[in-house]
Symmetry: C2
């Protein structure tokens, strides 16, 4: 059985799920021994342990040396040494790998990708541990977001690519009537051809979840890929690249279709990005480098997810306690280091109506602080939910934020029972007023949230609109029992082109985005120019090359 | 019956045709009185005549005066005075028109567009005459390319937009199992929202064919459009805009959803292009302005068709006479002013094998010149096929080209029996050698072709590859009886990402592209970054804005 036939049902399941966007996930998010095997977690951790401090087993063209760039937020000594390769060599070998990949045919290519994804899935615990150690995520989140949820996003990209490619017929018989004469008849072939080398630039916090969509979308549409992970979160990407190369090699294909690029010199990435052969760049990261790419890598189509200012507006609620618990979890999860985490919580200065009576602005702030404090009072919850702080600069931002307004909840350093060197800090909550736009109107990445007293609930909509227009956002949340006001919030979300969550009080959080159902980012505001996943994410990664030639028209029936 | 229901079959016909890409055209290309009405042609011409020298009947916001910019290549006094409107006013009224357009709903919008397209079709003779007078096209071509073929391309864009939008479910019930507990249940809505104001910049030669795809694609995906026609070919665009506005007004919608922009000051277009509200630009025209747009209108997604160097390679043929006739027509049609017209004809210096025996390079050149000469010896053919020269600079290029090599066929000025002021010139053919890349390696727009002696047939492939890499092309033609060599040509076309026509000897020409079957431009080489029409042409013109809210899960079955 071909690889494609082996995995055909998986692809079909994804296509079916995307047609309705109900709940679906082929990769179980529970790290249960019953699902993944009794020894899977221990095996995965041991596999990562065996890599630490050594040369990573990856041989690529143009290697000039080895580099170890990762500093674990958990204080673990990573020290994995990856190959540093000349950009020219990476580009040349990527280009050379394109032709055999194309010749494999569509089903052949999709079979390889689905096989690789299935093997990635089987190594979820290993990848999860690598994600945890490099990003600072808590273990459960590292497993879910770094494993099955990332795999869902990969499969989603593969399925969209399938749809976009399937829209192009492979050939056509074109017969144009010529009155009494025989028709003009032509045989036409339509070949889908990748645009060229794809560069996929990962981020420090979600090295698989934010890398897989571009990686698999580019490969599926016929392009060789160079994966350039964030220097601090290389290992999860390296393992993923290795698995793809392993399957390619087994199939007698050119493993250099997928390569890893790493260097301590920023000019290395810049050279790759500007290479004329690079036709697309997927980028997750800072606005600063995103802008640099837009300004300088002009030959490439850029798919960028950058910073935004995510906002929640509280107008009223009939589930006050549940709302606070929901928000507290959102602010705490992975220490607020998700691109979808709420930064600004807008509350009318005159307070809000709730099922527990009227609550003043002051009271809402105190109650939210108490909810976060309560959530993080259990040491086991702290390590599970909070995780560690990815970058030292984030700790500095927490300190600075504390001086920018009235502190509702002070951040405190936390010790990890198993990782004495872990960089752990609880969230800081700062009260501001509507006039403090200079503070809350820009991204302050990390566990920093501003509870902003707005002049009114409608003023909160205006504040959010203004922030969204200038900075963009991946998420907007609102709480209200007033349908008319909610309609205005829906209009705001539409105009600002941002995803909206309404009255989240149960086990779904504004910062969560479920593959096959939720579109992650709209691509229509300054925080991102593309979405996981739409047809637009895949359709321009290939072109149609047609050829046509006369044939004798078949005899009339 | 709603407009959508009225035109549902037309849309479905297009969707069916695109699924197979065989021959299909809902708009008859024969300007037959039986199809279009006995008096249709005379009526259309009279309608245009009635507009000449007057204020064009179009009222738009922010009018600061009237401008008449058109100089007919036929020497006809056009003198139509169009409104010049302030860019700020055009942008503001476009933005204001977006919301009611969105609220109309998908079927409502498509109904309006299909109704407008149908009315455009009914006025084909009028638009054709406007195309002829402003572009210099011959009357038959002006009718076909300016009328039904352009309408086909419009419908194609509408159909692709329908497909891309239909890929997004309008809502979903998402239920995530929670073990023994009731599932988490959310109702999700997915709204497709246009990216913002679309600017559609037309060209001097095909003011409808190259304008309709972007115009209708942008409208169909929810965006207001400002049409900026070429100053010399305004009338066909203005009539089209007026028809759209007429239907919008009838439906009680805001006519400013579609506006015309015109000014004698180039800064006017530049200001529009750089406006932050402009989210997309469709552009057909010069590399120079295309580059300016790419450099300066950075906020907008650019869909650009620019200059390229189209090539035909003659390796051998078993239909020598038919090949020459086919090429002669290609070079003559609209005086070589199509973006798809062949500029370089590569022939091995040692000649070629044909069904009429071996032909030397010299002989092929002479025979091709004779074929063009013969085609244009009939005065009726001359006026029908050649048409007039759109721009005075093209006449200058003909003169210059004659001095760049050995002239195989001299250009001659031609008189038009009905239009004494017509600017008509027959094609010039110049022989060059492979070493003359500085001459043939760049675009020389107009009825100028170079017959280039290459060192061999394989060298011709290399020459073509080099030109394609540097300049791009919309078309590549080859003639050969050697399947192995043709396979190499197919590879070349694939690598260069250019559409290939093989052994055209019948009534199809390399410069022709049939909607619903042929993809026009691949979008993958320097001549164009987008194609008529693929999913990529429409899918990124809108974003998906989702909202989600908990609902009580329905009881288990």
């Amino acid at each position: 059985m071909s690889l494609f036939d082996t995995h055909r049902a998986l692809l079909q399941g994804a296509l079916d799920a995307l047609a309705t966007r109900g709940y679906w996930s082929p990769f179980p998010e529970m790290a249960s021994p019953k699902v993944y095997g009794e020894t899977a977690q221990a095996d995965g951790q041991a596999a990562v342990q065996a890599l630490l401090g050594k040369d990573y087993p990856l041989e690529q063209p143009g290697e000039v040396g080895r580099v170890a760039t990762e500093q674990s937020p958990y204080g673990v000594d990573i020290g994995v040494r990856y190959p540093e390769c000349e950009p020219e060599a990476l580009i040349a070998s990527a280009r050379a790998a394109e032709r055999p990949w194309a010749q494999l045919g569509r089903k052949g290519r999709f079979g390889v990708l689905l096989e690789a994804l299935t093997r990635i899935h089987k190594r979820s615990h290993e990848i999860a541990h690598a994600v945890m150690l490099t990003t600072g995520q808590g273990p459960m989140m590292a497993f879910q977001a770094g494993g099955p949820h990332a795999q869902d996003r990969a499969l989603e990209a593969i399925a969209y690519a399938w749809k976009a490619l399937a829209d192009v017929p492979e050939q056509a018989l074109w017969e144009k009537p010529q009155g009494k004469n025989p028709p003009l008849a032509m045989q036409k072939h339509f070949e889908t051809v990748g645009r060229g080398v794809a560069l996929v630039i990962g981020c420090a916090t979600f090295p698989t979840w934010n890398t897989y969509p571009g990686l698999f979308a580019a490969l599926a549409t016929g392009n060789p890929v160079i994966v350039k992970p964030h220097p601090n979160a290389v290992l999860p990407a390296a393992i993923s690249v290795s698995i793809l190369r392993e399957v390619l090699t087994e199939q007698g294909l050119d493993a250099n279709l997928v390569q890893l690029a790493l260097s301590e010199d920023p000019a290395h990435t810049q050279q790759l990005a500007r290479d004329p052969a690079v036709a697309s760049i997927d980028f997750t990261g800072s606005n600063e480098f995103g802008r640099w790419l837009g300004d300088n890598a002009r030959q490439a189509r850029l798919y960028a997810e950058m910073a935004g200012v995510n906002t929640v507006i509280v107008e009223s609620t009939d589930q006050y306690a549940a709302m606070l618990r929901n928000l507290a979890f959102t602010l705490s999860l992975y220490s607020g280091q998700m691109c979808t985490t709420t930064q600004n919580i807008l509350v009318p200065k005159d307070g809000i109506q709730t099922d527990e009576g009227h609550k003043s602005f002051e009271q809402v702030g105190q109650d939210l602080a108490a909810a976060v404090d309560k959530l993080l009072s259990d040491p086991r919850v702290v390590t599970a939910v909070l995780g560690a702080i990815s970058a030292p600069q984030t700790v500095e931002r927490i300190r600075e934020a504390s001086g920018k307004g009235r502190v509702l909840l002070a951040s405190r350093a936390v010790d990890h029972p198993d990782y004495p060197g872990a960089r752990m800090h609880t969230p800081v909550l700062v009260a501001l007023t509507q006039q403090d736009a200079a503070i809350y109107g820009r991204e302050c990445f990390g566990p920093v949230s501003f509870v902003v007293a707005t002049d009114s609930a409608d003023a909160a909509l205006e504040v959010a609109a203004s922030t969204l227009r200038e900075q963009g956002a991946l998420t907007l949340g609102v709480y209200s029992t007033d349908r008319a006001w909610l309609d205005r919030a829906v209009q705001l979300a539409r105009n600002a082109r941002v995803a909206l969550s309404i009255n989240l009080t149960q086990g779904v959080y504004v910062n969560q985005s479920a593959a096959f159902s939720d579109y992650h980012a709209t691509g229509g505001n300054p925080a991102a120019n593309a979405s996981y996943t739409t047809l637009a994410f895949v359709a321009d990664r290939f072109v149609v090359v047609q050829r046509r030639e006369h044939v004798a028209a078949p005899p009339a029936a």
